[in-house]
C-alpha cells in the first residue's frame, strides 16, 4: 500500500468522490486555481471546471448557507472554511440551519453537506490561525463531527462524510497535513462515522484523544514502553459526534486509568464529555481519577515561538502525564 500524506489523502478523497458522483462539488475561498491556501483542493478546478471547484466571495455565512441550499436541492457540497478560526461567521447557518433541517421538517428535508475546516496550532499562525473550535459545535444535535489523525482515516472518513445523508463537520489538522503520512489503499474504502479505533494495545493506562496530540501519545507510549515498561492503550475517537460510547467504555475499562488529551482548551472540551461518560457508567472500574491534558484555558495561542511552545501539547508533556498516571 502506498504511503501518502494526510493532506494528499484529503485531496484524493475529494477527487475520487467528485469522479464518482457528479453531485459532489467543492466551494470556498481560493479553492480554485490556487487550490486552497494549504493545497487541499489542488488540481480540482483544472479537472472538474470552475463550477465544481468554486471560488466564492469572502463570506463564510454564504459559503455555508449556499451549500446548505444546494444540499437541500439534492447536491452534495463540500464547503471549505479556510481556517476553522474563520467558520464562526457561519455559526448561525451551521447550528440553526444545517443541524436542524431534518428534524424541523420531520424528515421531509435533509442537508447532506460536509464542512471542512483546518484546526490546530504549531504553525506560527497566532491567535486566529491556530484554534480548535470543536467545542463550540460539539453537543449540537443534528451535526456529525469527525477529526481524523491519520491519512488512512482522513481519506476514509471524508468519503464517508460526503456520502453521509446528514451534515458533517470535518476537522482536519493543519499540523498533520505534511507531518503525518501512512498507508492508504488505492481502492475505494470508507471509515465508518461514529467508530473509534484502538491505535495501540496496552494494559497499564488508557489514553483517549483525537487529532494531532495522539501522535505525541503514540511517541510517548513507545518511549514509556521501552524505558519504563509502561504499556499504554491508545484510543483514537476519530468521530467526536456521535461519540463511540462503547469504544470509550471498553478502552477505559481495559486499564482503569484514563488520560484524555486534546489540543482544544480543557474547560468545556470534548474531553469533559468523555470524562463524564466514564464517570457516569464506569465509576467502579476506575483505579485513578480521570485526568485531562488539554490546551490551557486561554483565548488562543500566541505567535511568538516560546509562547506557542508553552501553549501546545508535545511528546514530553504527554509522557510525563502518562507516567504519572501509570504510577498513581
Amino acid at each position: 500500500m502506498p504511503v501518502i500524506e494526510y493532506i494528499e489523502a484529503i485531496r484524493l478523497a475529494m477527487k475520487e468522490e467528485m469522479e464518482r458522483d457528479p453531485e459532489v462539488f467543492v466551494m470556498g475561498e481560493d479553492v480554485g486555481l490556487k487550490g486552497g491556501v494549504f493545497g487541499t483542493t489542488k488540481g480540482l478546478q483544472q479537472q472538474f471546471g470552475e463550477d465544481r471547484a468554486l471560488d466564492t466571495p469572502l463570506a463564510e455565512s454564504a459559503i455555508a448557507g449556499v451549500a446548505i441550499g444546494a444540499a437541500m436541492a439534492g447536491m452534495k457540497p463540500i464547503a471549505e472554511m479556510q481556517y476553522s478560526d474563520f467558520m464562526f461567521p457561519a455559526t448561525n447557518q451551521i447550528i440553526s440551519e444545517a443541524a436542524k433541517i431534518r428534524y424541523r421538517s420531520n424528515n421531509d428535508w435533509s442537508c447532506p453537506i460536509v464542512i471542512r475546516a483546518p484546526i490546530g496550532g504549531g504553525v506560527f499562525g497566532g491567535l486566529y490561525h491556530s484554534q480548535c473550535p470543536e467545542s463550540v459545535f460539539f453537543g449540537t444535535p443534528g451535526l456529525k463531527i469527525v477529526a481524523p489523525s491519520t491519512a488512512y482515516d482522513a481519506k476514509g472518513l471524508l468519503k464517508a462524510a460526503i456520502r453521509d445523508p446528514d451534515p458533517v463537520l470535518f476537522f482536519e489538522n493543519k499540523k498533520c497535513y505534511r507531518l503525518v503520512a501512512d498507508e492508504v489503499p488505492e481502492e475505494d474504502y470508507t471509515v465508518p462515522i461514529g467508530k473509534s479505533k484502538v491505535m495501540r494495545e496496552g494494559g497499564d493506562i488508557t489514553v483517549i484523544g483525537y487529532s494531532m496530540p495522539l501522535h505525541f501519545a503514540m511517541q510517548a507510549a513507545e518511549e514509556l514502553s521501552r524505558e519504563e515498561g509502561v504499556e499504554a492503550h491508545v484510543l483514537d475517537l476519530r468521530t467526536l459526534q456521535p461519540l463511540d460510547r462503547a469504544g470509550i467504555l471498553e478502552a477505559a475499562a481495559k486499564t482503569g486509568k484514563v488520560l484524555i488529551v486534546h489540543e482544544d482548551n480543557k474547560t468545556g472540551g470534548v474531553g469533559a464529555e468523555v470524562a463524564a461518560i466514564i464517570a457516569e457508567e464506569l465509576l467502579y472500574d476506575l483505579d485513578a481519577p480521570i485526568r485531562r491534558l488539554c490546551g490551557p484555558d486561554v483565548p488562543a495561542m500566541p505567535i511568538n515561538p516560546p509562547g506557542e511552545k508553552h501553549f501546545l501539547l508535545n511528546k514530553e508533556k504527554l509522557k510525563s502525564a502518562m507516567l504519572e498516571l501509570a504510577r498513581f
Partner: protein
Amino acid sequence: MTQTGTVRQNSRHAALGISDEKAVAMYEIMKLARMYDERGQLLQRAGKINFHISGITQEPSQTAMAFAMDRERDWFLPYYRDYALVLSVGMTVKELMLSIFAKAEDPNSAGRQMPGHFGCRRLRIVTGSSPVTTQVPHAVGFALAAKMRGEDAVSIVSFGEGSSNQGDFHEGLNFAGVQKLPVVFVCQNNQYAISVPFSKQSAGKIADRAIGYGFPGYRVDGNDPLEVYRVVKEARERAAAGEGPTLIEIMTYRVTAHSTSDNDLAYRTKEEVEIHKAKDGIPVYRRYLTELGLWSDEKEDELTRRLRAMIDEATEYAEKAPFQPPEDSFRYVYAEEGEAR
C-alpha cells in the same frame, strides 16, 4: 387599476398574459388567505391555539409573486407571513390548520415548528426556521444547484425589510450577483420590524441595494397585484435566461400587530394603521375584476360561503387530529437506519 370600461382583451391582466381564469384564481387565493388568517386570529383569541402571526394586507402581492413563477418547477422559500404564497403553490387550508394546531399530520413539521414555518418537499416549498434571513443564502444554493444541473428552475425567496439588514442578506445577494444565478429576492417592506419603524431600520431604499450587487432592484406597490406580477414575471424571465438575480421591494404595511403576542399600540397610533387599512389591495382588485365583468356580488357570496365551509372543515379536522406521539418527537435528528437521503 382604474381603467373602467376597458374591454377584457385590453385588460391589464391580459396584457400580462394572465388569462381571465387565472386572474380570478388569484383573487380567490387572496380571499382564502385573508379568511384563513382572520380565522387564525379568532382561534387564538378563543384560546384554541397559542399563537398566530398574520399576513393581512400582504396577500395580493404574495399571490402575485407565486402566480408569476412556474409553480411546477420553481423553488419557493417563503417567510412566516406568506400564507397566500404557499396557498398559491398548492398547500391546502387543512394543512395550514394542522400546522396552526401543531398536529402530527402537518406536512410542514408534524407540529414541531411554529405556524408560519413553512416547508413541503412535495410542493417545492423549502423548510424554514425562525432566525430571519437564513433562507436567503439557501435560495441562492437552490439557484446554484439549478444552474449546475442545467435545470430550468428559478428560486424565489421572501423576507421582511427588517430582515434585509442581516448579514445573510448581503452575503447571499452578493454571491448570487457574482454567479448570475436564477433567483428572485423579494423584500416585503411592511414598514415595521416588530416595533421598529422603517426609519430606524435603514436610511436607504432596500431596492437600491441591488445596485451594489450589479443587478436590478425595483420598488413596487404591494397593493397592486398586477404590477407585482409584472415585475416578478420579468425577474423570473431574466433569471431563466441566465441574466441573473433581481431584488424586488414590495411596499406594503403591516396592519395587524406583529403577532398575537404583540401590542402594537405601544409604539404606533391607531390612526396610522387606519390609513393603511384603507389602502387594502383586495377590495381594489375585486373592483377591478367586477368592472371587467369577471366578478360579481353573487360570486363573492358564493366564494365566501365555499371558503368558510372549507376553513370550518379544516379547523374541525385539525382540532381533532392527533399530536405527534411524544416518543416520536425525538426522531429524525439524523437519518434513520437504512435511509439514504
